[in-house]
Symmetry: C2
Subunit: 433 residues, 2 copies
């Protein structure tokens, strides 16, 4: 039995995928039953590191998704359009889909999955989150028997590389970003990564699978790492923390009926399992009952690891096709049927610890006034440390106990208006695990 | 559609499994399609923390595996017999099997899997390795598209707890073992754990899936942790290592055609991903091309986590049954068809670093003679340190560069015979990562 693939896109991940498929020796024997029938590319004249028989490469992408001979479309082009249209056509034509496109799924997932349910085809996207780490399938299959309480991920390699370098070298964000761009760890336009948007796409996908409902992408509260200062990283270290960009999806404990969904830099205690995940690596921590906690760790990007995840989805579909003997019913584990949207708790209700760094004139009583103001707003302080001076201003670092976002920000608003503390400014605000 | 289960055994994991199945709210919706038809126990009069309707509990195990109404047998009794006979009967009766019994599978796997292939039923055993950590299914499905080069696991929670306690408290093996027994982390007869046999069962299962061939259980070279002395742990720490009981399956690099399979305490560099896995936690590191490395971490035992793995296997089967609509063909990903045995490289060919601790009279020239002897046998030394005294004997710790087991042991044999070094004794020998 031979299963025919149409690849859309032959960039780094597309090339990595083709390399696995064209060299099946020593891998799962199902790979020998796969043929790459067509590869859709933008330019036919570009030099390629993999070679295909005459007629496989084409710049007519429509012809691939309309080819009745093709069983599975593997979409590795990226971007939103024409991806959305091509996938919907392929689905309407009865083809199964494998994609690594987190942005397209986070944005158009509802439309794509509805179409797939109707057509009776699979849409698998293991490579969209965590690169080579098998995380989506374990979430759907193995971990779904638990009541998941929280998913916490370091799911963006670029920002984790930058934060790791800043921590290890005491370097500034801008310098490390430039270096990361030179090394190919950050894109020329790094907005999606450093702004937290890529991580938000990924936590939307993870949360949807873990909590069995759809997620509106705009419901993910998103802060990037551009405001993280070398000084904050240094103070965090002195206080026993590591700063990581975390993507978090969590059942709100008070009622268990709404989700908290957020991406932001976080001060993690150094003994937290995610605190030691450094460089471009990704890790996802899943907590639930009765599993307690499970963590998945591995390369979050890169042609090879991402291609591994793409090909694993391909053989998952082929394994099913071989055993199903023409049955039109989808395996509910690989094709969850939920259509409702998860209720999302407003960010103002989040209860967490905070870290804030203030710059102000070194007046006596400043710390007392800060403490009084936070107290008035029901935010109690864990520590207040005058850590140093910057440009002749005193630098005060505050870590709070658990408080609500609303109360904490009300306190900050009042502090901004202090007349007594001339020159007070809020240099940075971060959340603490 | 309702799928009927027969549970064999209602100990801690059996009870945990029933608790998940009887409380499906907030978990994968497939759980609502499962009915526990029968539960086989040894004693009907024993008090149980879960209650079943009249007639579900029975001490007639044969009646369960022969019940034509039951779709899936969940074996959580443990031990080799009558498990083997019951499973073979259930399989002959066309029932799918879920088991957590690593010993039965490591010992009788060939017979059981042959019977299952013939009968067209699944035998899943996620809970047999790594407790709640999803590792077997990701190995079969996601990671199998890679050329796996090595699997390294901390797969026995009892020994990891003991080694962690010894390291953190500087305590002796015997004292920590007694404490672990009091806490329920070690069994009254701890032989299978501290002797490395349990870890050997598990690496045999992991290797079989990762390398696509059967493993003879007796081919796993096995050393336990009983000979690890508090002194070795302390010296290892001084040299920058942590001692862990590792289970390793590795393609022999020289030809890639035979496997090295071994369980032994190992000095791991402190920055190795497995070095920070402490207490009763388990972790499995998978390396391959092009995935690079992926690590799975979580609770390696305990009723809840192990039950999570058991129930995940149950819903895997049900997901397939629901979509296959009576097809008799097995999904090759969940039911690998390999029947050949992996070739195993002899231990004497292993190339690794070694750690040895010698006690001897404090004669001048002792270190030189040790170095010369190792050199003669082609083992070069990375460091030789006279670390202290014990009972008026000098204590010398040697760490070698890579050398073969055969050469290293030839050197040790010669050293044992040194007349010059009166009183020399080899206090311990360990391998170094």
């Amino acid at each position: 039995m031979v299963f025919k693939l149409g690849l859309l896109g032959l960039g780094t991940v597309g090339t990595g995928t083709a390399e696995i498929l064209l060299n099946p020796e020593g891998r799962n024997p199902l790979l020998k039953e796969i043929e790459i029938k067509s590869v859709g590319v933008r330019s036919l004249s570009k030099a390629r590191s993999v070679s295909f028989p005459e007629g496989v490469l084409t710049d007519d992408l429509e012809s691939i998704v309309n080819d009745p001979d093709i069983d599975i479309i593997v979409e590795l082009m990226g971007g939103l359009e024409p991806v959305r249209s091509l996938l919907l056509k392929a689905i309407a034509n009865g083809k199964h889909i494998v994609t690594a496109n987190k942005a397209a799924i986070a944005m158009h997932g509802a439309e794509i999955f509805d179409a797939a349910q109707e057509a009776g085809v699979y849409v698998l996207l293991e490579a969209a989150v965590g690169g080579g780490i098998p995380i989506l399938k374990p979430l759907k299959e193995a971990l779904g028997v638990n009541r998941i309480s929280r998913i916490t991920g370091i799911v963006n390699g670029t920002t984790n590389y930058i934060l790791t370098q800043m921590a290890q070298k005491g370097a500034n964000f801008d310098d490390v970003l430039t270096e990361a761009q030179d090394l190919g760890y950050a894109e020329a336009d790094p907005t999606a990564d450093v702004g937290g948007l890529d991580a938000a796409d990924k936590i939307a996908i993870l949360a949807s699978l873990a909590f069995g409902g759809r997620i509106k992408r705009e419901d993910v509260y998103t802060e990037g790492i551009t405001q993280v200062d070398a000084a904050d990283i240094s103070y965090a270290q002195q206080l026993g923390f590591t700063i990581k960009l975390l993507a978090i999806a969590q059942q709100k404990t008070s009622n268990g009926q709404s989700l908290q969904l957020r991406v932001h830099p976080t001060l993690l205690p150094q003994d937290h399992p995610l605190a030691s995940i450094n460089g471009v690596y990704n890790a996802v921590l899943v907590e639930g009952d009765p599993i307690e906690q499970v963590m998945f760790f591995g390369p979050g990007a890169g042609a090879g690891p991402t291609a591994s995840a793409v090909v694993s989805d391909i053989i998952s579909i082929i394994g099913i096709l071989k055993s199903a003997q023409g049955s039109q019913r989808l395996n509910p584990l690989l094709s969850p049927e939920h259509q409702h949207y998860c209720a999302i708790a407003p960010m103002s209700e989040l209860v967490t610890r905070f870290y804030a760094r203030f710059l102000c004139n070194d007046n006596p009583g400043v710390i007392g006034h800060l403490g009084t103001c936070f107290g008035k707003h029901d935010v109690s302080l864990e520590s207040v440390v005058q850590i140093g001076y910057q440009d002749s201003l005193a630098e005060i670092v505050v870590v709070t106990h658990d408080g609500t976002e609303a109360n904490f920000h009300n306190a900050l608003t009042e502090i901004r208006g202090f007349s007594l503390l001339d020159n007070i400014s809020i240099a940075s605000v971060l959340r603490v695990w």
